[in-house]
């Protein structure tokens, strides 16, 4: 506290005014305003317990013995932390298999979605063929149709594709292909491609570059930030996906983590896992997405800005 007040005491510099918000830096030099500021700060700090609390509880429950976890009142930190719960959960829940499946599902989703969305966005933004406005409208109008309204027909579709009569049930392609139809990705990439000056692509075209060369040599290298955003969002969405893989992948060999956890521990499971193992399993399943957020915070926040929600 003392450290902060010391730092605040320096006179407010003029440059700071450009990043001012509702409350001006000048007002915060008054003791009364500062007291309010710090009580709001304390309040926010306290409310982080609402999210950190349950996460901590998951982590600490995972370290308890199967007796201690059912102790009332519960211990805040386990008396004898059983780190072996993690390794047991890892093997009991067959994590190597399901982690692998989850990664494959995410990787395939990224490759396919980037391929489908980037080519379409490039065409709409730079090649602009005749009828582009209609095509664009047809793509973007699917933003309004949540996939759940055609959940069952999609399932029927996947289990017997038209014309070729192939079933993609229990096949990763059955998850990858429907996900690849992402109007949001096309929108994000198109709005980014639009910011690349047309002079650049026009000049290359005059020099005889083919559309493919424009795409692969100019647009893609310049769009790394947007591609990164789409990649991260796709990985997160794929890692969080539950309902569709649950319907399509009922063979345990191909299931991702979230579906496997549901079948192993769900209310329908015949042999419910010990709770401490389940908690350890949940912690293990949360670590990769949390790491992803810590590493790519900037890109995720930029992605939220890129989706055009800034108004």
């Amino acid at each position: 506290m003392a450290m902060f007040t010391l730092r605040r005491r320096r006179p407010p510099r003029l440059e700071e005014s450009f990043e001012r918000t509702l409350v001006s830096p000048l007002v915060l030099t008054h003791p009364g305003a500062r007291a309010i500021y710090w009580s709001v700060f304390a309040l926010l700090l306290l409310s982080t317990l609402i999210t950190f609390g349950p996460l901590y509880w998951m982590f600490s429950s995972a370290l308890k013995s199967s007796i201690e976890i059912f102790q009332s009142p519960p211990t805040i930190w386990p008396l004898h932390p059983a780190w072996s719960n993690y390794s047991n959960a890892w093997s009991v829940l067959q994590y190597p298999l399901y982690f692998g499946n989850t990664l494959i599902l995410a990787a395939g989703a990224v490759i396919l979605q980037l391929l489908v969305s980037a080519t379409a966005a490039f065409s709409l933004s730079k090649l602009r063929p005749a009828g582009k406005n209609i095509i664009q409208f047809v793509f973007f109008s699917t933003l309004m149709v949540p996939p759940v309204v055609y959940l069952i027909p999609q399932f029927v579709n996947i289990s017997d594709l038209p014309l070729i009569h192939v079933s993609l049930i229990n096949n990763w392609a059955g998850v990858w292909l429907p996900e690849a139809a992402s109007a949001l990705n096309i929108l994000i990439l198109k709005s980014f491609f639009d910011t690349i000056p047309t002079e650049l692509t026009d000049a290359a075209r005059l020099d005889g570059a083919s559309p493919w060369q424009l795409f692969s040599r100019i647009i893609l290298p310049l769009s790394r930030p947007a591609l990164a955003v789409v990649t991260i969002f796709t990985v997160v969405a794929s890692w969080k996906d539950f309902l569709w893989p649950l319907l399509v992948l009922f063979n345990p060999e191909v299931q991702p983590l979230s579906v496997a956890i549901y079948h192993e521990a769900g209310i329908n499971s015949n042999f419910p896992l010990p709770f401490n193992y389940l908690m350890a399993g949940l912690v293990l399943a949360s670590i990769p997405p949390i790491l992803l957020f810590l590493l790519f915070q900037r890109q995720i926040i930029r992605g939220i800005n890129l989706t055009g929600l800034r108004g």
Binding site: L115, W212, I300
Partner: protein
């Protein structure tokens, strides 16, 4: 573009000028077609993967859904046209009213709990000169968790005998509750879970929107002697109002599709108190093998969501505008 094409398209026909006018016209048309192709072929080729995927996995299933809703389908016997029978059966199902009531109640609670919380959080965090990154992280973290983790974690927190929530209540001498087993508390309990898992993402969107409020407006208002509330009411909120409306519609659309929480935490119970429309669709399909009825209910859900989607579409019409 349009204006230049006739003159260029006329070029190949120049060599055939001596011939009769019919072939001249043909040559002109041919040249024009060739030019059209050379101009647009690349564009169409690049659109091909997306058009293919969208046709097969969005537009076709959408149409198929309407078709299936008029058929009796069990995936074993050939489909039979049954007219409106599926719709009649779905509407006559006593669970239809229960599912819609629960879904709309869920949406109502979700707006009550979840609409203002992210906005207030964003407003407060945006004013912080310290720990902004920590707060952002703290409130966004649950968004990153797989929903199944969130669901099972809260199943454990809500546990009547050994859960954290009842233990905390006991510590301050308040009675605990059978949160998930009680018909009147089960649905609100699930709303808390869903809000916990989603509020952070709305908060980040508001935080981004707040960056767009021009500081000069605040300064001018301050010089005019306005107080904090007046600035929030007359500057901040009007500036971010489009996004607030958008979030409202998006939140309604999203919460009406609620599935994971009731499916994994309560399984639709107790006594169907958390049975939602989507769970009913799931049951029709995978318990009763009534794909037609499931599709009919899907079409009804589609029509209801379409109303909100149209509102959303009008709001985002700027995105859809041809440029």
């Amino acid at each position: 573009m349009e204006r230049s094409s006739p003159s260029r398209g006329a070029r190949p026909s120049r060599s055939a000028r001596s011939e009769e006018s019919v072939s001249r016209g043909e040559g002109l048309a041919l040249g024009r077609a060739r030019l059209f192709i050379s101009r647009n072929l690349g564009g169409y080729l690049f659109l091909l993967p997306a058009l293919f995927i969208f046709a097969l996995f969005v537009w076709y299933p959408l149409v198929l859904g309407f078709k299936l809703s008029f058929q009796s389908v069990d995936m074993i016997n050939p489909a039979i046209w049954v007219g409106w029978a599926n719709y009649q059966k779905v509407l006559a199902d006593p669970l239809f009213g229960v599912a819609w009531h629960n879904t709309l109640t869920f949406t109502g609670y979700a707006l009550l709990f979840g609409y203002l919380v992210p906005l207030v959080l964003a407003l407060l965090i945006n004013e912080m000169r310290h720990g902004k990154a920590l707060f952002r992280l703290a409130f966004y973290l649950p968004v990153m968790l797989p929903p199944i983790v969130t669901a099972f974690l809260w199943l454990w927190l809500y546990n009547a005998d050994f859960g954290l929530i009842n233990a905390l209540l006991q510590a301050v001498h308040l009675p605990g509750g059978l949160w998930l087993e009680n018909q009147s508390t089960a649905l609100p309990a699930l709303v808390v879970v869903a809000t916990w898992g989603a509020a952070g993402s709305t908060m980040l969107i508001y935080l981004a929107a707040l960056q767009g409020v021009p500081a000069s407006l605040y300064e001018a208002a301050e010089i005019d002697g306005s107080n904090l509330w007046q600035r929030i009411w007359h500057i901040t909120l009007p500036t971010i109002r489009p996004i607030m409306l958008l979030m409202l519609v998006l939140q309604i659309i999203a919460t009406m599709q609620v599935f994971t929480e009731p499916f994994t935490i309560t399984g639709g119970g107790p006594n169907n108190a958390t049975l939602t429309v989507l769970i009913l669709i799931y049951r029709y399909t995978f318990q009763d093998a009534e794909f037609g009825e499931a599709s009919a209910l899907g079409v009804i859900l589609f029509l209801v969501l379409a109303v909100f989607a149209l509102i959303y579409m009008r709001m985002t019409s700027r995105l859809m505008e041809a440029d």
